[in-house]
Symmetry: C2
Subunit: 558 residues, 2 copies
């Protein structure tokens, strides 16, 4: 039998990637990347620094260009490869990235009169124009429908669907009025590829709807009309225009149209999976399973865990979201995250640029910091330079460093920053476990996981858990390819598909008992600072903080 392949299409912030994966063993035989044509590095900006939009035309052009190029590369790399060996497509995207569409499901941005109107574009996940609307939604839900907030950590974000829709209503009423409905990018691409953009065919994914639009089967779908009307009477009408078909990623959005088959060179009629967010399918590509947390570590982190739906799961305060089937059907998908990880290290290296005439690189600092013992610097940091996503859900928090002397060196501060992100990671793990979601091992993916042995060892030592590294460097696209394999029928379920198609690198970082013991003491100090600066409830004195750090330092240096 001839080998079978699937394609994972991964829509990032600046570019889209197509990855061709062997269904049997997960080998990645070809990839192609295309940077969106509009805006700056694919992002349309304005004088308002909070605004970030994308042009939907780039999404379609990107699918065409990258699939064609990946097929070309595959044919070169793999003797005898033919495009008709591709049996399915999966799609993951950033989100919440909603866009206004007309009655045919076509983006308003495709119309001439809206062609250069940012409000008619896709509102990129990191667009922060809707802060006031988010606060309004949070306040109303707290009063009227607390259950809506319970599943999204207690605070509705300015980055999410309803905030952006409401902001459009208020700031660009003509666009809002012209829109029949709104579509998430994760749903738009599969629908476009399968010719199901029209309302009576259109399918939305559980992942985007559940995590960003307060959709839940348990309360009958999207937020109820009474609630939405209180925000704005017109939202009840919009609600009626949203599709009732909201499905997980093991379902097909449809089949590739002849038109798209021609555009790309693929076989017409192959299934396209329902779309989901990059982090969620990244978790799939990293082998997420009950008891295994996947950390997608980049400038920030996204942490994904799953837990069987047969167990009753209490609401976990501070999590970005808990959604039935948002990662893998049959499991609750739980999403957490840290607002700055790689960005925090980048700040030290690129903004402060320590080290004088021969400035420290990441690699230099990694090496020098590796030679330090836990606790030896006497430093402790909070990893909040970009706020705290989980468990405090508070963007109005900032960084903190304590324990500096007149001899504190750049690599000590660097290590303290790495440790701070590790303490932040442990705080998330503890929150999962406190609410019954056991985390016995962690799979990491992303550049830092692959490149910084220091970071991974500190994560192991701080959390007391082995740190595994995902085999693939493109876990999001791989996860999409796995979804494609499932909808194409190559595997009956995700667990079996993951077992064959995803994997780990050989190297696992195991916790060192002595280091873990020191970090246990240090974590108590981290939690004191975390609670003192991050919560209203903390009432203790911090008189012991500097003294304990000195004692631990003296012990470490002995």
């Amino acid at each position: 039998m001839k080998a079978q392949y699937t394609i994972g299409l991964d829509y990032g912030t600046n570019s889209v990637r197509a990855l061709i994966v062997n269904v049997e063993d997960g080998r990645e035989i070809a990839a192609a990347v295309w940077t969106y044509a509009h805006g700056t590095q694919g992002v349309i900006l304005s004088r308002d620094p909070n605004l970030a939009r994308q042009h939907p035309a780039d999404y379609l052009e990107g699918a065409k260009v990258t699939i064609r190029e990946a097929l070309r590369v595959a044919a070169k790399n793999q003797r005898g490869f033919k495009a008709d060996q591709v049996i399915g497509i999966g799609v993951d995207t950033t989100g919440s990235t909603p866009m206004p569409v007309d009655k045919e499901g076509q983006p308003l941005a495709f119309r001439r009169q809206f062609a250069s109107n940012p409000a008619a574009m896709a509102w990129l996940w990191k667009d922060h124009t809707a802060v006031a609307e988010a606060e309004e939604i949070t306040a109303l839900a707290r009063k009227m429908r607390p259950q809506y907030l319970a599943k999204c950590g207690g605070t509705y974000s300015s980055e999410w669907f309803w905030s952006k829709v409401l902001k459009c209503k208020r700031s660009a009423p003509s666009v809002y009025k012209a829109a029949h409905s709104w579509m998430e990018l994760a749903d738009f691409v599969p629908a476009a590829l399968t010719g199901t953009l029209e309302p009576d065919l259109f399918t939305a994914g559980v992942c985007a709807a559940g995590h960003k639009a307060m959709w839940s089967a348990s309360w009958g779908g999207y937020p109820d009309a009474a609630f939405l009307s209180k925000l704005d009477p017109s939202l009840a009408k919009l609600r009626a225009n949203l599709t009732p078909r909201v499905k997980p990623v093991n379902q097909k959005a449809g089949h590739l149209t002849h038109e798209w088959a021609e555009k790309t060179g693929l076989k017409p009629g192959i299934p396209v999976a329902v779309g989901a967010f990059d982090a969620h399918l990244g978790a799939v590509g990293s082998g997420v399973a009950p008891g295994t947390l996947v950390k997608i570590i980049g400038t920030s982190t996204c942490d994904i865990a799953i837990t069987p739906t047969r167990r009753v799961l209490p609401d976990v305060p501070g999590l970005c979201g808990i959604v039935n089937g948002s990662v893998i059907p049959g499991f609750y998908g739980l999403e957490a995250g840290q607002s700055a990880v790689g960005d925090l290290f980048n700040w030290w290296v690129h903004y402060i640029q320590p080290g004088g005439k021969t400035p420290w690189s990441h690699k230099d600092l990694d090496e020098a910091a590796s030679r330090l013992k836990p606790g030896e610097s006497g430093l402790m940091a909070l990893d909040w330079n970009n706020g705290n996503r989980t468990i405090l859900v508070d963007q109005r928090l900032t960084g903190l460093m304590v324990g500096q002397t007149l001899y504190t060196r750049p690599e000590e501060i660097y290590r303290a920053l790495v440790e701070a992100t590790a303490f932040g990671a442990l705080t998330i793990i503890n929150r999962f476990e406190d609410y019954g979601v056991r985390i016995s091992s962690v799979v990491n993916c992303g550049g830092i996981a692959e490149k910084s042995a220091l970071t991974m060892q500190i994560y192991a030592d701080v959390t007391g858990r082995p740190m595994k590294i995902s085999r693939s460097a493109q876990t999001c696209a791989l996860g999409s390819a796995i979804a494609a394999a499932v909808v194409a029928g190559a595997y009956p379920d995700f667990a079996r598909a993951q077992r064959r198609m995803s994997g780990l690198k050989e190297k696992t970082y195991r916790p060192n008992a002595a280091a873990h013991a020191v970090y246990k003491d240090l974590y108590k100090i981290y939690r004191q600072l975390h609670d003192a600066f991050g919560t209203r409830e903390f009432k203790g004195s911090l008189h012991g903080v500097m003294k304990s750090l000195i004692e631990i330092r003296e012990k470490a240096r002995r």
Copy 2:
């Protein structure tokens, strides 16, 4: 009438300086500096990083070399100058810097068998070998004689007289046994120059005895024998050998001997003032007066104020010392200080070395930080990288920085460090005022006061008080020369001598009302952090700290 001059001899940590000053107008006509010959830059070190000693021979050699050289330079600079126009000598030194002496008042280090024994040398102020002894003395005094602690901020320091003596008894018993008595450097030099080293002639200064040896006329001199015996029975005998003649700096220690006249070229018989500490005579040289605080700003600061003894002064908690007549007779001398000021800025510039391939100099950072508005960075620091001398008297405190974002820049951190030292300075001023010592203006001296307009403007804006700059760059030596003018009879008292011999630079930094208003809000946050990390009593939440800093930042950037 021919002009009259006095000499100020200023014994620093690494060198001694002789300054020749015109008695009528304070003009400094010649100076000479000599680095001590023994040890590293004049300091004898060992494998124990806490040990710091000096060889007493350097003190005598230094007096000879610098006075001769200063006279030579004066003759060159000042047409017709003759050495016999010098009518008196004043001496200021580091302290507490005690040394063991024999029955004739000669340092034990001058004996062959002790010539290279560090215990027989002068125990330099920054020697920290006696930490355990200091704790023991503090504990005993707290129980038995709380009044002893009330005048020195509540904690007896390892840098002070009795700690060092007791440490010698325990760690070098043969030296201790050979010592008849112990002498402060501030007393040794005047006694040596005037041939009054022998016990029945020897005079000690109020400044050293009062600030470092728990001497007070109010309880009959040095700590009582019962108290000292509890520490060690032999200390009662030592107490009996300490001189009962303890006098302020308007008194003569004696008159220059023929031997010293010959050595130096000065006229024999001219008076030498009782010695005092550098900071105290530095305050005199800067024009200290009731209501005027003198800040001697170097790597750390020493803050000196005076208040008339006709007023009853309550004990001021956290001050390093309150001693009747230690600065100027008829006034209480009050000493406070900050453990790191210049050192804190040096840490950022020389240890962290921010700025990449073209690292920031102090001057660069000063300029860039000057362009920032108060509150604009959103940062707040505690100035405790070297502990906190006043008002917390706690060396086991460390630095803290809060408010960092992913865009925080080196000059913002630099400015936050400068502001932190300003907030620390205000905390000291407030403590003075809370206990009835009014501080309406501040005279600053030292390199930072002369070179950093940024620092002085921030000090004015934070404290809401004008910052004046001492005219002399050698205020300590100038203060000694003023004391010499008083003991030589050129002036009836210090106030009149200061009026003629000391002065201010033209430039005064005046507080800007708008900046002061912002700093008032910021200071509230500083005090929250100060109390939370520095005291046991603080019980509030710090939940508002980061948020308030963000609000102030947003307002400043508007």
